[in-house]
Protein backbone atom coordinates (compact mmCIF):
# COMPACT_ATOMS: atom_id res chain seq x y z
CA UNK A 1 0.00 0.00 0.00
CA UNK A 2 1.33 3.42 -0.84
CA UNK A 3 -0.58 4.76 2.14
CA UNK A 4 2.40 5.28 4.43
CA UNK A 5 3.16 8.73 3.09
CA UNK A 6 -0.35 9.96 2.89
CA UNK A 7 -2.10 12.55 4.95
CA UNK A 8 -4.73 10.48 6.63
CA UNK A 9 -8.38 11.37 6.52
CA UNK A 10 -8.99 8.80 9.24
CA UNK A 11 -7.53 10.83 12.06
CA UNK A 12 -7.50 14.57 11.99
CA UNK A 13 -4.22 16.06 13.02
CA UNK A 14 -5.86 17.50 16.10
CA UNK A 15 -7.23 14.16 17.32
CA UNK A 16 -3.92 12.52 16.50
CA UNK A 17 -1.95 15.03 18.52
CA UNK A 18 -4.41 14.69 21.39
CA UNK A 19 -3.82 10.95 21.41
CA UNK A 20 -0.08 11.50 21.30
CA UNK A 21 0.00 14.10 24.06
CA UNK A 22 0.40 11.61 26.96
CA UNK A 23 3.19 9.88 25.05
CA UNK A 24 5.02 13.14 24.52
CA UNK A 25 4.50 14.10 28.15
CA UNK A 26 6.02 10.87 29.44
CA UNK A 27 8.91 10.99 27.04
CA UNK A 28 9.62 14.60 27.78
CA UNK A 29 9.39 14.19 31.52
CA UNK A 30 11.04 10.82 32.05
CA UNK A 31 13.47 10.62 29.15
CA UNK A 32 14.46 14.01 27.76
CA UNK A 33 14.32 15.99 30.95
CA UNK A 34 16.42 13.54 33.03
CA UNK A 35 18.93 13.45 30.22
CA UNK A 36 19.35 17.21 30.16
CA UNK A 37 19.15 17.57 33.89
CA UNK A 38 21.75 14.97 34.72
CA UNK A 39 24.20 16.81 32.51
CA UNK A 40 23.40 20.05 34.32
CA UNK A 41 23.80 18.51 37.77
CA UNK A 42 27.13 16.98 36.86
CA UNK A 43 28.61 20.49 36.84
CA UNK A 44 27.41 21.24 40.40
CA UNK A 45 28.25 20.13 43.92
CA UNK A 46 24.69 19.03 44.58
CA UNK A 47 23.97 16.68 47.48
CA UNK A 48 20.75 15.33 48.95
CA UNK A 49 20.97 17.08 52.28
CA UNK A 50 22.69 20.16 53.69
CA UNK A 51 23.55 23.49 52.16
CA UNK A 52 24.54 22.07 48.79
CA UNK A 53 21.08 20.55 48.45
CA UNK A 54 19.22 23.84 48.74
CA UNK A 55 21.71 25.90 46.80
CA UNK A 56 24.05 23.81 44.66
CA UNK A 57 27.03 25.68 43.27
CA UNK A 58 28.38 25.51 39.78
CA UNK A 59 31.80 23.91 40.03
CA UNK A 60 32.68 23.43 36.38
CA UNK A 61 34.49 20.25 35.54
CA UNK A 62 35.53 19.48 39.12
CA UNK A 63 33.40 16.34 39.34
CA UNK A 64 34.91 15.00 36.16
CA UNK A 65 38.40 15.95 37.24
CA UNK A 66 37.88 13.95 40.39
CA UNK A 67 36.67 10.91 38.45
CA UNK A 68 39.68 11.02 36.21
CA UNK A 69 42.21 11.79 38.93
CA UNK A 70 44.84 9.43 37.64
CA UNK A 71 46.59 9.09 41.03
CA UNK A 72 43.65 7.48 42.75
CA UNK A 73 41.11 6.38 40.15
CA UNK A 74 42.33 2.80 39.98
CA UNK A 75 42.09 2.24 43.72
CA UNK A 76 39.51 -0.23 44.81
CA UNK A 77 36.06 1.35 44.98
CA UNK A 78 37.05 4.21 42.68
CA UNK A 79 35.65 5.11 39.27
CA UNK A 80 38.49 3.81 37.10
CA UNK A 81 38.55 0.51 38.93
CA UNK A 82 34.79 0.20 38.47
CA UNK A 83 35.19 0.86 34.76
CA UNK A 84 37.76 -1.92 34.47
CA UNK A 85 35.59 -4.33 36.42
CA UNK A 86 32.62 -3.44 34.24
CA UNK A 87 34.60 -4.16 31.09
CA UNK A 88 35.55 -7.59 32.46
CA UNK A 89 31.98 -8.22 33.44
CA UNK A 90 30.57 -7.14 30.08
CA UNK A 91 33.01 -9.06 27.94
CA UNK A 92 32.72 -12.27 29.93
CA UNK A 93 28.92 -12.05 30.05
CA UNK A 94 28.75 -11.25 26.36
CA UNK A 95 30.83 -14.23 25.33
CA UNK A 96 28.91 -16.52 27.64
CA UNK A 97 25.42 -15.37 26.68
CA UNK A 98 25.90 -15.14 22.95
CA UNK A 99 27.73 -18.46 22.58
CA UNK A 100 25.37 -20.30 24.88
CA UNK A 101 22.32 -18.76 23.23
CA UNK A 102 23.63 -19.58 19.76
CA UNK A 103 24.58 -23.09 20.89
CA UNK A 104 21.11 -23.84 22.20
CA UNK A 105 19.43 -22.33 19.15
CA UNK A 106 21.62 -24.43 16.84
CA UNK A 107 21.19 -27.62 18.84
CA UNK A 108 17.43 -27.34 18.53
CA UNK A 109 17.34 -25.95 15.01
CA UNK A 110 14.56 -27.76 13.13
CA UNK A 111 13.69 -29.87 16.13
CA UNK A 112 10.41 -29.90 17.97
CA UNK A 113 9.00 -31.66 20.94
CA UNK A 114 9.19 -32.04 24.67
CA UNK A 115 12.95 -31.64 25.04
CA UNK A 116 13.01 -28.35 23.15
CA UNK A 117 9.98 -27.00 25.00
CA UNK A 118 11.56 -27.86 28.35
CA UNK A 119 14.92 -26.29 27.64
CA UNK A 120 13.39 -23.18 26.10
CA UNK A 121 11.00 -22.78 29.01
CA UNK A 122 13.79 -23.13 31.58
CA UNK A 123 16.05 -20.66 29.83
CA UNK A 124 13.20 -18.21 29.30
CA UNK A 125 12.06 -18.44 32.90
CA UNK A 126 15.60 -17.64 34.04
CA UNK A 127 15.17 -14.43 32.08
CA UNK A 128 11.69 -13.34 33.14
CA UNK A 129 11.31 -14.39 36.77
CA UNK A 130 11.62 -11.52 39.28
CA UNK A 131 15.21 -10.59 39.98
CA UNK A 132 14.85 -10.43 43.74
CA UNK A 133 13.56 -14.02 43.93
CA UNK A 134 16.18 -15.20 41.45
CA UNK A 135 18.93 -13.55 43.49
CA UNK A 136 17.91 -15.67 46.47
CA UNK A 137 17.91 -18.95 44.68
CA UNK A 138 21.34 -17.98 43.42
CA UNK A 139 22.58 -17.10 46.87
CA UNK A 140 21.59 -20.59 47.86
CA UNK A 141 22.99 -22.09 44.66
CA UNK A 142 26.38 -20.46 45.30
CA UNK A 143 26.40 -21.11 49.05
CA UNK A 144 29.39 -23.13 50.31
CA UNK A 145 26.89 -25.92 50.97
CA UNK A 146 24.72 -25.01 48.01
CA UNK A 147 23.66 -27.00 44.97
CA UNK A 148 26.61 -25.96 42.85
CA UNK A 149 29.13 -27.23 45.35
CA UNK A 150 27.16 -30.39 45.93
CA UNK A 151 27.30 -31.03 42.19
CA UNK A 152 31.00 -30.19 42.01
CA UNK A 153 31.73 -32.39 45.01
CA UNK A 154 29.89 -35.27 43.39
CA UNK A 155 32.36 -35.24 40.50
CA UNK A 156 35.30 -34.73 42.87
CA UNK A 157 36.08 -31.05 42.29
CA UNK A 158 36.97 -28.36 44.85
CA UNK A 159 34.16 -26.54 46.58
CA UNK A 160 34.99 -22.85 46.91
CA UNK A 161 32.92 -20.28 48.77
CA UNK A 162 31.90 -18.67 45.50
CA UNK A 163 30.67 -15.28 46.63
CA UNK A 164 33.76 -14.73 48.80
CA UNK A 165 36.50 -16.37 46.78
CA UNK A 166 35.34 -15.67 43.24
CA UNK A 167 32.75 -12.89 43.36
CA UNK A 168 33.36 -11.67 39.83
CA UNK A 169 33.11 -15.18 38.39
CA UNK A 170 29.93 -15.62 40.40
CA UNK A 171 28.13 -12.59 39.05
CA UNK A 172 29.27 -13.39 35.51
CA UNK A 173 27.88 -16.88 35.87
CA UNK A 174 24.68 -15.43 37.26
CA UNK A 175 24.37 -12.87 34.51
CA UNK A 176 24.98 -15.41 31.75
CA UNK A 177 22.36 -17.67 33.25
CA UNK A 178 19.91 -14.81 33.49
CA UNK A 179 20.46 -13.31 30.04
CA UNK A 180 21.04 -16.23 27.67
CA UNK A 181 17.36 -16.38 26.76
CA UNK A 182 17.57 -13.19 24.70
CA UNK A 183 20.28 -14.53 22.39
CA UNK A 184 18.64 -17.92 22.27
CA UNK A 185 15.25 -16.54 21.21
CA UNK A 186 16.79 -14.10 18.75
CA UNK A 187 18.94 -16.74 17.08
CA UNK A 188 16.30 -19.42 16.98
CA UNK A 189 13.88 -16.95 15.37
CA UNK A 190 16.56 -16.06 12.82
CA UNK A 191 17.42 -19.70 12.15
CA UNK A 192 13.74 -20.48 11.79
CA UNK A 193 13.69 -18.19 8.77
CA UNK A 194 16.44 -20.09 6.95
CA UNK A 195 14.77 -22.05 4.21
CA UNK A 196 15.27 -25.80 4.64
CA UNK A 197 16.16 -26.10 0.97
CA UNK A 198 19.41 -24.19 1.62
CA UNK A 199 20.52 -26.77 4.15
CA UNK A 200 19.42 -29.63 1.95
CA UNK A 201 21.51 -28.24 -0.86
CA UNK A 202 24.47 -28.14 1.49
CA UNK A 203 23.75 -31.75 2.53
CA UNK A 204 23.69 -32.87 -1.06
CA UNK A 205 27.03 -31.15 -1.60
CA UNK A 206 28.42 -33.18 1.28
CA UNK A 207 29.14 -30.35 3.69
CA UNK A 208 29.91 -31.33 7.26
CA UNK A 209 28.24 -29.69 10.25
CA UNK A 210 30.86 -26.99 10.68
CA UNK A 211 30.88 -26.09 6.98
CA UNK A 212 27.11 -25.99 6.99
CA UNK A 213 27.15 -23.59 9.89
CA UNK A 214 29.88 -21.39 8.48
CA UNK A 215 28.72 -21.26 4.86
CA UNK A 216 24.94 -21.43 5.15
CA UNK A 217 23.69 -20.47 8.60
CA UNK A 218 26.21 -17.89 9.74
CA UNK A 219 25.74 -15.56 6.75
CA UNK A 220 21.99 -15.61 7.33
CA UNK A 221 22.15 -14.63 10.99
CA UNK A 222 24.87 -12.02 10.76
CA UNK A 223 22.46 -9.16 11.35
CA UNK A 224 20.98 -10.86 14.42
CA UNK A 225 24.47 -11.60 15.69
CA UNK A 226 25.37 -7.92 15.52
CA UNK A 227 22.10 -6.99 17.22
CA UNK A 228 22.65 -9.47 20.02
CA UNK A 229 26.24 -8.40 20.59
CA UNK A 230 25.48 -4.74 20.93
CA UNK A 231 22.19 -4.95 22.82
CA UNK A 232 23.63 -7.43 25.30
CA UNK A 233 26.62 -5.12 25.74
CA UNK A 234 24.38 -2.14 26.36
CA UNK A 235 22.17 -3.96 28.84
CA UNK A 236 25.02 -5.63 30.66
CA UNK A 237 26.77 -2.34 31.01
CA UNK A 238 23.77 -0.96 32.88
CA UNK A 239 22.61 -3.99 34.82
CA UNK A 240 22.08 -3.57 38.56
CA UNK A 241 20.86 -7.05 39.51
CA UNK A 242 24.26 -8.38 40.77
CA UNK A 243 23.83 -5.93 43.61
CA UNK A 244 21.34 -8.37 45.07
CA UNK A 245 24.02 -11.05 45.22
CA UNK A 246 27.10 -9.13 46.36
CA UNK A 247 26.19 -5.49 47.08
CA UNK A 248 29.32 -4.70 45.05
CA UNK A 249 31.59 -6.49 47.46
CA UNK A 250 33.41 -8.06 48.97
CA UNK A 251 35.91 -5.21 49.10
CA UNK A 252 34.47 -3.61 45.94
CA UNK A 253 35.43 -6.61 43.84
CA UNK A 254 32.09 -6.52 42.04
CA UNK A 255 31.72 -2.74 42.02
CA UNK A 256 30.39 -2.60 38.45
CA UNK A 257 29.19 0.67 37.01
CA UNK A 258 25.53 0.57 38.03
CA UNK A 259 26.41 -0.41 41.57
CA UNK A 260 29.14 2.20 41.72
CA UNK A 261 26.75 4.93 40.59
CA UNK A 262 24.16 3.81 43.08
CA UNK A 263 26.68 3.89 45.91
CA UNK A 264 28.00 7.36 45.11
CA UNK A 265 24.56 8.88 44.60
CA UNK A 266 22.37 7.05 47.11
CA UNK A 267 24.76 5.89 49.82
CA UNK A 268 27.05 8.90 49.91
CA UNK A 269 24.36 11.20 48.47
CA UNK A 270 26.93 12.86 46.19
CA UNK A 271 24.47 13.74 43.45
CA UNK A 272 26.90 15.95 41.55
CA UNK A 273 29.52 13.25 41.48
CA UNK A 274 26.91 10.58 40.70
CA UNK A 275 25.62 12.66 37.81
CA UNK A 276 29.10 13.06 36.41
CA UNK A 277 29.41 9.28 36.42
CA UNK A 278 25.99 9.01 34.79
CA UNK A 279 27.12 11.41 32.05
CA UNK A 280 30.19 9.29 31.32
CA UNK A 281 28.05 6.15 31.30
CA UNK A 282 25.63 7.77 28.86
CA UNK A 283 28.49 8.78 26.61
CA UNK A 284 29.66 5.18 26.56
CA UNK A 285 26.07 4.02 25.95
CA UNK A 286 25.75 6.46 23.06
CA UNK A 287 28.89 5.10 21.45
CA UNK A 288 27.58 1.55 21.83
CA UNK A 289 24.20 2.54 20.41
CA UNK A 290 25.96 4.29 17.54
CA UNK A 291 27.94 1.16 16.79
CA UNK A 292 24.67 -0.75 16.90
CA UNK A 293 23.04 1.54 14.34
CA UNK A 294 26.10 1.35 12.15
CA UNK A 295 26.14 -2.44 12.30
CA UNK A 296 22.43 -2.55 11.54
CA UNK A 297 22.85 -0.28 8.51
CA UNK A 298 25.71 -2.39 7.25
CA UNK A 299 23.66 -5.53 7.77
CA UNK A 300 20.77 -4.08 5.79
CA UNK A 301 23.07 -2.90 3.03
CA UNK A 302 24.55 -6.37 2.76
CA UNK A 303 21.19 -8.00 2.21
Amino acid sequence: MPSTHQDSTILTRRTGLTLLAPTFAFIGLFLLFPFVWVVAISFTDRTLLGAAAADPQFIGLDNFRQLFDFDSWMRSGEFGRSLVLTVYFVIASLIGQVFLGLGIALAFHRRKGFLRETIFTLVTLAWILPEAAIAFTWTSFLDPNGTLNTALGAVGLTRPDWLLDAPMASIVMFNVWRGTAFSMLLFSAALGNVRPSYLETADVLGANAWQRFRDVLLPMIKAQLATALILVTLWTFNVFTPFLLTQGGPAFQTDIMAIHTYRIAFRYFEFGQGSAIAVIVMLINFVLAGVYLFALKRGEGAR
Binding site: S8, P130, E131, A132, T147
Partner: protein, 276 residues
Protein backbone atom coordinates in the same frame (compact mmCIF):
# COMPACT_ATOMS: atom_id res chain seq x y z
CA UNK B 1 32.10 -44.64 9.48
CA UNK B 2 28.73 -43.00 9.04
CA UNK B 3 27.32 -44.99 11.91
CA UNK B 4 30.14 -43.93 14.22
CA UNK B 5 29.53 -40.34 13.28
CA UNK B 6 25.84 -40.70 13.86
CA UNK B 7 26.32 -42.22 17.30
CA UNK B 8 28.87 -39.58 18.25
CA UNK B 9 26.47 -36.84 17.16
CA UNK B 10 23.63 -38.34 19.22
CA UNK B 11 25.83 -38.70 22.28
CA UNK B 12 27.19 -35.19 21.90
CA UNK B 13 23.71 -33.77 21.54
CA UNK B 14 22.40 -35.62 24.57
CA UNK B 15 25.36 -34.55 26.70
CA UNK B 16 24.92 -30.94 25.66
CA UNK B 17 21.21 -30.98 26.43
CA UNK B 18 21.80 -32.63 29.78
CA UNK B 19 24.38 -30.04 30.80
CA UNK B 20 22.18 -27.14 29.69
CA UNK B 21 19.14 -28.55 31.45
CA UNK B 22 21.12 -29.03 34.65
CA UNK B 23 22.71 -25.58 34.46
CA UNK B 24 19.38 -23.85 34.06
CA UNK B 25 17.32 -26.04 36.36
CA UNK B 26 19.63 -26.51 39.35
CA UNK B 27 19.66 -22.86 40.48
CA UNK B 28 15.85 -23.01 40.57
CA UNK B 29 15.79 -26.15 42.65
CA UNK B 30 16.03 -24.33 45.96
CA UNK B 31 13.12 -22.11 45.03
CA UNK B 32 10.92 -25.15 44.50
CA UNK B 33 12.05 -27.36 47.40
CA UNK B 34 13.02 -25.06 50.28
CA UNK B 35 9.52 -23.59 50.82
CA UNK B 36 8.20 -27.01 51.80
CA UNK B 37 11.08 -27.80 54.11
CA UNK B 38 10.45 -27.68 57.85
CA UNK B 39 13.98 -26.37 58.44
CA UNK B 40 14.99 -24.69 55.24
CA UNK B 41 18.60 -23.64 54.85
CA UNK B 42 20.53 -22.31 51.90
CA UNK B 43 21.45 -25.83 50.90
CA UNK B 44 19.08 -27.98 48.97
CA UNK B 45 17.68 -31.28 50.10
CA UNK B 46 14.42 -33.09 49.57
CA UNK B 47 11.98 -32.13 52.32
CA UNK B 48 11.56 -35.28 54.40
CA UNK B 49 8.60 -33.81 56.27
CA UNK B 50 6.92 -31.65 53.65
CA UNK B 51 5.06 -28.82 55.32
CA UNK B 52 3.09 -25.69 54.49
CA UNK B 53 4.10 -23.97 57.73
CA UNK B 54 6.43 -21.63 55.89
CA UNK B 55 3.53 -20.29 53.89
CA UNK B 56 1.58 -19.86 57.07
CA UNK B 57 4.45 -17.82 58.44
CA UNK B 58 4.29 -15.61 55.36
CA UNK B 59 0.58 -15.03 55.74
CA UNK B 60 1.07 -14.18 59.40
CA UNK B 61 3.55 -11.49 58.45
CA UNK B 62 1.58 -8.29 57.84
CA UNK B 63 4.43 -6.57 56.09
CA UNK B 64 5.08 -9.48 53.72
CA UNK B 65 1.42 -9.88 52.81
CA UNK B 66 0.96 -6.20 52.21
CA UNK B 67 4.06 -5.97 50.03
CA UNK B 68 3.05 -8.84 47.81
CA UNK B 69 -0.71 -8.60 47.57
CA UNK B 70 -1.20 -4.87 47.87
CA UNK B 71 1.91 -2.90 46.99
CA UNK B 72 3.33 -5.04 44.19
CA UNK B 73 -0.16 -5.42 42.80
CA UNK B 74 -0.89 -1.68 42.85
CA UNK B 75 2.40 -0.78 41.25
CA UNK B 76 2.42 -3.51 38.60
CA UNK B 77 -1.24 -3.14 37.72
CA UNK B 78 -0.99 0.66 37.73
CA UNK B 79 1.98 0.71 35.40
CA UNK B 80 0.34 -1.95 33.26
CA UNK B 81 -2.84 0.06 32.75
CA UNK B 82 -1.04 3.33 32.22
CA UNK B 83 1.57 1.92 29.84
CA UNK B 84 -1.02 0.05 27.79
CA UNK B 85 -3.29 3.04 27.57
CA UNK B 86 -0.67 5.62 26.69
CA UNK B 87 1.12 3.31 24.26
CA UNK B 88 -2.06 2.20 22.51
CA UNK B 89 -3.34 5.72 21.91
CA UNK B 90 0.10 7.05 20.98
CA UNK B 91 0.92 4.13 18.71
CA UNK B 92 -2.43 4.47 16.97
CA UNK B 93 -1.80 8.13 16.26
CA UNK B 94 1.71 7.33 15.06
CA UNK B 95 0.33 4.70 12.73
CA UNK B 96 -2.36 6.95 11.27
CA UNK B 97 -1.26 10.55 11.14
CA UNK B 98 1.56 11.97 9.16
CA UNK B 99 4.23 13.72 11.18
CA UNK B 100 7.67 14.58 9.88
CA UNK B 101 10.15 12.00 11.15
CA UNK B 102 7.37 9.70 12.26
CA UNK B 103 9.04 6.59 10.90
CA UNK B 104 12.34 7.04 12.72
CA UNK B 105 10.72 8.44 15.85
CA UNK B 106 10.15 5.09 17.54
CA UNK B 107 13.60 3.78 16.69
CA UNK B 108 15.31 6.90 17.99
CA UNK B 109 13.16 6.66 21.09
CA UNK B 110 14.15 3.06 21.76
CA UNK B 111 17.82 3.77 21.31
CA UNK B 112 17.61 6.89 23.41
CA UNK B 113 15.77 5.08 26.17
CA UNK B 114 18.37 2.33 26.26
CA UNK B 115 21.00 5.04 26.71
CA UNK B 116 19.15 7.02 29.38
CA UNK B 117 18.43 4.02 31.54
CA UNK B 118 19.38 2.22 34.71
CA UNK B 119 22.39 3.76 36.41
CA UNK B 120 22.53 6.76 34.09
CA UNK B 121 18.96 7.78 34.80
CA UNK B 122 18.70 7.03 38.49
CA UNK B 123 19.99 10.34 39.81
CA UNK B 124 17.84 12.70 37.73
CA UNK B 125 14.78 10.46 37.95
CA UNK B 126 15.12 10.41 41.71
CA UNK B 127 15.47 14.18 41.83
CA UNK B 128 12.52 14.62 39.48
CA UNK B 129 10.25 12.44 41.60
CA UNK B 130 11.59 14.19 44.69
CA UNK B 131 10.64 17.57 43.21
CA UNK B 132 7.21 16.31 42.24
CA UNK B 133 6.71 15.31 45.85
CA UNK B 134 6.18 11.69 44.83
CA UNK B 135 8.98 10.05 46.77
CA UNK B 136 7.63 7.15 48.78
CA UNK B 137 4.40 7.08 46.77
CA UNK B 138 3.01 4.36 44.54
CA UNK B 139 2.30 6.95 41.88
CA UNK B 140 5.96 7.92 41.59
CA UNK B 141 6.96 4.32 40.95
CA UNK B 142 4.13 3.83 38.46
CA UNK B 143 5.02 6.98 36.51
CA UNK B 144 8.72 6.15 36.29
CA UNK B 145 8.03 2.61 35.12
CA UNK B 146 5.57 3.82 32.53
CA UNK B 147 8.10 6.28 31.17
CA UNK B 148 10.71 3.55 30.93
CA UNK B 149 8.47 0.91 29.33
CA UNK B 150 6.76 3.27 26.90
CA UNK B 151 9.27 3.25 24.03
CA UNK B 152 9.24 -0.52 23.54
CA UNK B 153 5.48 -0.64 24.14
CA UNK B 154 4.99 2.01 21.44
CA UNK B 155 7.21 0.08 19.08
CA UNK B 156 5.30 -3.17 19.46
CA UNK B 157 1.88 -1.51 19.38
CA UNK B 158 2.65 0.54 16.30
CA UNK B 159 3.65 -2.58 14.41
CA UNK B 160 0.43 -4.16 15.52
CA UNK B 161 -1.67 -1.15 14.49
CA UNK B 162 -0.10 -0.94 11.08
CA UNK B 163 -1.17 -4.49 10.39
CA UNK B 164 -4.84 -3.52 10.75
CA UNK B 165 -6.41 -2.58 7.40
CA UNK B 166 -7.54 1.03 7.29
CA UNK B 167 -10.83 0.06 5.71
CA UNK B 168 -12.28 -0.82 9.13
CA UNK B 169 -11.83 2.70 10.38
CA UNK B 170 -12.84 4.21 7.06
CA UNK B 171 -16.04 2.22 7.06
CA UNK B 172 -16.76 3.42 10.60
CA UNK B 173 -16.41 7.02 9.44
CA UNK B 174 -18.55 6.49 6.36
CA UNK B 175 -21.10 4.81 8.58
CA UNK B 176 -21.34 8.07 10.46
CA UNK B 177 -19.07 7.57 13.47
CA UNK B 178 -17.03 10.48 14.77
CA UNK B 179 -13.37 10.01 15.66
CA UNK B 180 -14.01 9.01 19.25
CA UNK B 181 -16.76 6.58 18.36
CA UNK B 182 -14.48 5.04 15.77
CA UNK B 183 -11.76 4.71 18.39
CA UNK B 184 -14.05 3.19 20.99
CA UNK B 185 -16.13 0.89 18.77
CA UNK B 186 -13.63 -0.24 16.18
CA UNK B 187 -9.98 0.54 16.89
CA UNK B 188 -9.73 -0.40 20.55
CA UNK B 189 -11.68 -3.68 20.28
CA UNK B 190 -9.58 -4.69 17.31
CA UNK B 191 -6.33 -4.06 19.19
CA UNK B 192 -7.34 -6.04 22.24
CA UNK B 193 -4.85 -8.83 21.71
CA UNK B 194 -2.01 -6.35 21.21
CA UNK B 195 -3.02 -4.54 24.38
CA UNK B 196 -3.07 -7.85 26.19
CA UNK B 197 0.49 -8.62 25.17
CA UNK B 198 1.73 -5.17 26.15
CA UNK B 199 -0.16 -5.30 29.41
CA UNK B 200 1.25 -8.66 30.46
CA UNK B 201 4.72 -7.64 29.42
CA UNK B 202 4.52 -4.41 31.43
CA UNK B 203 3.08 -6.19 34.44
CA UNK B 204 5.81 -8.81 34.50
CA UNK B 205 8.49 -6.16 34.11
CA UNK B 206 7.28 -4.03 36.97
CA UNK B 207 6.48 -7.01 39.15
CA UNK B 208 10.06 -8.23 38.93
CA UNK B 209 12.06 -5.00 38.98
CA UNK B 210 14.07 -4.05 42.01
CA UNK B 211 16.03 -0.85 41.41
CA UNK B 212 13.25 1.71 40.92
CA UNK B 213 11.18 0.91 44.02
CA UNK B 214 14.46 0.47 45.89
CA UNK B 215 15.42 4.06 45.14
CA UNK B 216 12.01 5.73 45.20
CA UNK B 217 10.36 4.12 48.22
CA UNK B 218 11.31 4.42 51.88
CA UNK B 219 8.59 3.25 54.19
CA UNK B 220 7.91 -0.45 54.69
CA UNK B 221 4.20 -0.09 54.08
CA UNK B 222 4.81 1.03 50.47
CA UNK B 223 7.42 -1.55 49.52
CA UNK B 224 6.63 -4.10 46.82
CA UNK B 225 7.65 -7.73 47.12
CA UNK B 226 10.93 -7.06 45.28
CA UNK B 227 12.36 -4.78 47.94
CA UNK B 228 10.54 -6.57 50.78
CA UNK B 229 12.33 -9.82 49.94
CA UNK B 230 15.61 -7.97 49.99
CA UNK B 231 14.88 -6.29 53.29
CA UNK B 232 14.09 -9.64 54.90
CA UNK B 233 17.56 -10.65 54.01
CA UNK B 234 19.46 -7.57 55.08
CA UNK B 235 17.48 -6.19 57.97
CA UNK B 236 16.54 -9.26 59.96
CA UNK B 237 20.19 -9.93 60.80
CA UNK B 238 20.15 -13.65 60.28
CA UNK B 239 17.79 -13.97 57.39
CA UNK B 240 14.65 -15.96 58.03
CA UNK B 241 15.36 -18.46 55.31
CA UNK B 242 12.15 -20.38 55.72
CA UNK B 243 10.06 -17.27 55.38
CA UNK B 244 12.06 -15.99 52.44
CA UNK B 245 11.85 -19.23 50.51
CA UNK B 246 8.09 -19.49 50.78
CA UNK B 247 7.73 -15.81 50.05
CA UNK B 248 9.96 -16.00 46.97
CA UNK B 249 7.90 -18.84 45.60
CA UNK B 250 4.64 -16.95 46.08
CA UNK B 251 6.28 -13.97 44.48
CA UNK B 252 7.27 -15.77 41.25
CA UNK B 253 3.97 -17.57 40.76
CA UNK B 254 2.12 -14.76 38.94
CA UNK B 255 4.97 -14.48 36.45
CA UNK B 256 4.95 -18.22 35.96
CA UNK B 257 1.21 -18.22 35.38
CA UNK B 258 1.37 -15.33 32.94
CA UNK B 259 4.21 -16.99 31.07
CA UNK B 260 2.24 -20.19 30.73
CA UNK B 261 -0.81 -18.24 29.63
CA UNK B 262 1.06 -16.31 26.96
CA UNK B 263 2.84 -19.44 25.82
CA UNK B 264 -0.43 -21.26 25.49
CA UNK B 265 -2.33 -18.43 23.85
CA UNK B 266 0.20 -16.87 21.51
CA UNK B 267 3.32 -18.98 21.76
CA UNK B 268 6.12 -17.07 23.41
CA UNK B 269 6.71 -14.83 20.44
CA UNK B 270 9.69 -12.69 20.26
CA UNK B 271 9.38 -8.95 19.93
CA UNK B 272 12.97 -7.72 19.54
CA UNK B 273 13.80 -6.80 23.12
CA UNK B 274 10.54 -7.61 24.85
CA UNK B 275 12.30 -7.14 28.15
CA UNK B 276 13.89 -3.80 28.78
Amino acid sequence: MNLVRFVLARVGFSAFVAVIAAAFALPLLWLILAPFHDQATLSVSLPTNPTLDNFRAVFDNQFAVRALFVNSMIQAAGAMVLTTLVATLGAYALARIHLPGRDVFVYVLILFSSVVTGSAAMVPVFLLIFRMGLIDQHLGVILVFTGGLLPVALFIMRDFMQSIPRSYEESALVNGANQWQMLRDVVLPMTRSGMMVIGIWAFVNVWGSFLIPFILLRSPDKMPAATATYSFYTEAGTPVITLISAYALLYVIPVLVLYLFVNWKYGFQFFGGIKS
